[in-house]
């Protein structure tokens, strides 16, 4: 009765007008108007270390066709050098007249020198401070110079950044072949008590037989060189993972340990890994994955790394009878072998992290959150002192 009375007192016309105004404002997208002729929409940024500071290579989407356009996204790469990243961005503006716009920047690539020799937050802080930069932007480290990676010609996409982003898709992450990280999560790890994190490590590989006579536009600040004539097409690989401690790259995880870390995080679905069965190589598909890392700090700290996978037989390296092909189930022999393989991957992962003193498992954070007293006692020697206990479970699909 009261509710009815309330409804009678509310003017319905006003309600409708309000809803229409809100929806119209949202769907009109007038708030997102951009003068594309004056704006440099940065798709990706590459950062390298130079003698005097940094160089920034920005891949910019252009509104007109270019030699590289094949009906998709056309882009140019503009480079600039400066003492800070902000300097570089200002140079791009002053030398091209384009207002650099970071709202659509989804990828920042760090050159290996910039990642190993300086604390990366010294250049990433520009993006963290920038209100118009999405903090869900992906971060990566690359072999050699980021400028070369960003300016390279992709064999699979019009813009190198878009090709690299494909490597970081949700499907790729679920395959366990790549570990991605965003600006936000990297910054949380960096400013957290562990001060350790990871980024995917990208390598370039020349595509055999692939050739493109595109031309890379060059601009400002003595950055990108103009590449006339023929240019080799590249493909990109990001199966390795760079380890970071206090903002500097301190180690590299091979593809097997990248998979191990993904499995420990419980991320993998339909990813594959190889093991042995009856003396021949066998590939198993992970259909279900549960993982976890916990720290028992009751006495001397003990880290428990546990992973459980449900697998099915994907492929044998030898000829198999048709009955075997028709069956998904995995023999006990292969399951034991898979268990040993995964345990070895995790053990190696632990050793690599310990060697590089990188607490990629965030054990310090766990200890800090569970007990301030224990944290004060163990914080400086935790990774060296802790004993890892690895639990691996491999189950066959029935």
């Amino acid at each position: 009765m009261r509710f009815k009375k309330f409804l009678q007192t509310v003017p319905m016309k006003l309600w409708i007008i309000l809803i229409v105004v809100v929806l119209f404002s949202f769907f009109s997208n007038d708030f997102g108007l951009v003068d594309i002729q004056k704006t440099a929409i940065i798709l990706a940024a590459g950062i390298d270390k130079t003698e005097n500071g940094f160089s920034l290579t920005a891949q910019i989407a252009v509104p007109k066709g270019s030699d590289r356009t094949t009906g998709g996204t056309s882009s140019v790469e503009i480079g600039a050098e400066g003492e800070t990243v902000s300097d570089c961005v200002s140079l791009i503006f002053s030398e091209t007249g384009w207002v650099p716009k970071l709202v659509f920047c989804d990828l920042i690539v760090l050159g290996e020198d910039a990642a190993r020799e300086v604390d990366v937050i010294s250049h990433l802080n520009y993006f963290l401070r920038n209100d118009y930069m999405p903090d869900s932007c992906l971060l990566a480290v690359c072999e050699g110079k980021a400028e070369e990676l960003i300016s390279s010609t992709s064999a699979i996409d019009d813009a190198s950044s878009l090709a690299i982003e494909k490597l970081f898709s949700e499907a790729a992450v679920k395959s366990g072949k790549v570990l991605t990280n965003t600006l936000k999560d990297f910054a949380i790890d960096y400013y957290g008590v562990s001060k350790c994190s990871f980024l995917p490590y990208v390598r370039m590989k020349e595509q055999e037989g692939g050739q493109n006579d595109s031309q890379t536009a060059a601009g400002g600040g003595g950055g990108t060189s103009s590449g006339g004539g023929e240019e080799k097409q590249q493909i990109y690989i990001a199966e390795e993972t760079a380890l970071f401690r206090e903002g500097k790259m301190v180690g590299l995880l091979p593809r097997e340990q990248t998979l191990a870390l993904s499995l420990l995080e419980g991320n993998v679905f339909t990813g594959t890994f190889n093991t042995e069965g009856d003396g021949s190589p066998v590939t198993l598909t992970v259909m279900k994955n549960e993982g976890g890392i916990s720290l028992d700090s009751a006495h001397a700290p003990k880290a428990e790394l546990s992973l459980s996978v449900t697998v099915r037989l994907c492929c044998r390296g030898v000829t198999a009878p048709v009955e075997d092909i028709a069956s998904d189930s995995v023999s006990e022999d292969i399951l034991q072998s898979a268990k040993a393989t995964l345990t070895e991957y995790v053990q190696k992962l632990w050793d690599l992290c310990k060697e590089s003193k990188c607490d990629v498992f965030q054990l310090k954070r766990m200890l800090y959150r569970s007990s301030l007293k224990k944290y004060a006692e163990w914080k400086d020697v935790l990774l060296e002192a802790v004993t890892p206990v690895i639990h691996t479970q491999v189950i066959s699909m029935k």
Binding site: F6, V10, F26, F31, L128, S371
Partner: protein, 357 residues
Amino acid sequence: MKKISTRQLLFFLACIMPVGKLVLLPARLADTSKNDLLFPLLVSYLVQAAAIFCALLVAKKGMTFYELLANTFGKIVAKILITLFAVFLLFAAFLPILEQKLFVQSVFYDTLPSFVAFAPFFLFAAYLLSKPLTSHGRVWDILAPLSVVGILGILILSLSSADFSALAPVGAAGWKGFFRGTMSATAWFFDAALLLPLLGTFRYEKGLAWKGTVCYLAGGAVVALFVAMFYGIFQEISPNQLFAFTATSKYFSGISMLGRIDYIFIFALGLVMSFYVTLPLKESIECVLEAYGRPRYLPTLLALAVTALFLALVVIFDYRFTEVLGFFTETVFWIIPIFSVAIPPLLLLLRRKRHAV
């Protein structure tokens, strides 16, 4: 004169008041109190709830704020006190308006963040300020469901991204963090003071004091959940996330496929905020009119004058927000509790003079 109904008042306490605390307050608390940010928030809410309980009990007397003062202290002193209170309301309104300006500029006009984008707000404010105070009751009827939908939408989209274990360990920020947080939060907690100019515009019904307090605390619980979730999402970088309620929902997995659907909820809350931030200005004008009378053109003139004053202040402090925030939360943080915490219980103690007006 048409009165504000009990329902409208309860809507205001439960649904409109929390909105003002969802923009800058969470980041400010994270900056001062780190992972212990809920404690200063809870203390601020409890103190305000007690003050609101007192303010609502004062309504039993059936008099306006000015009449209460005049009955005890006489007309001249009452005029001085009410003028001081009106100035306080203008003072308290400044930070939320500046907050609203930054929010609108940075979130809705990210491609063109200029002052011009926010300027039309003052036309809207001038119109609202020229309307009678009781018309806000109808506004709250309309805004309350919008506010509920907006907050619920943002909470639902954001909850899955939050890691609540980030709030541990309790006490990591220490007493210093707690006191700094409580001190900073005062700039957003003048809720009880907002009720005083409303005295006389609503009838006290049985149980209104506790009903109002419960509604206010229910709104506070939602704010506390939001703040916990905000810290769970941004953890150590929370102090950097200025516009809290616009930032938490963008990590929802469906956003990548559907686009920023959360903007529907952000727009809804933005709309509620626009009305909320003008209320202290309207109440300030109402205090002056109550004390000095209502000649024909004075309400309109005051509405225009207050709008012009705030337009000028916003222009002057356009690039000095950090300074303003520091001034409110560190230098003059004690002013707001004097008016919003101390006055409501003192009003309960006021006794009518024998030969009063």
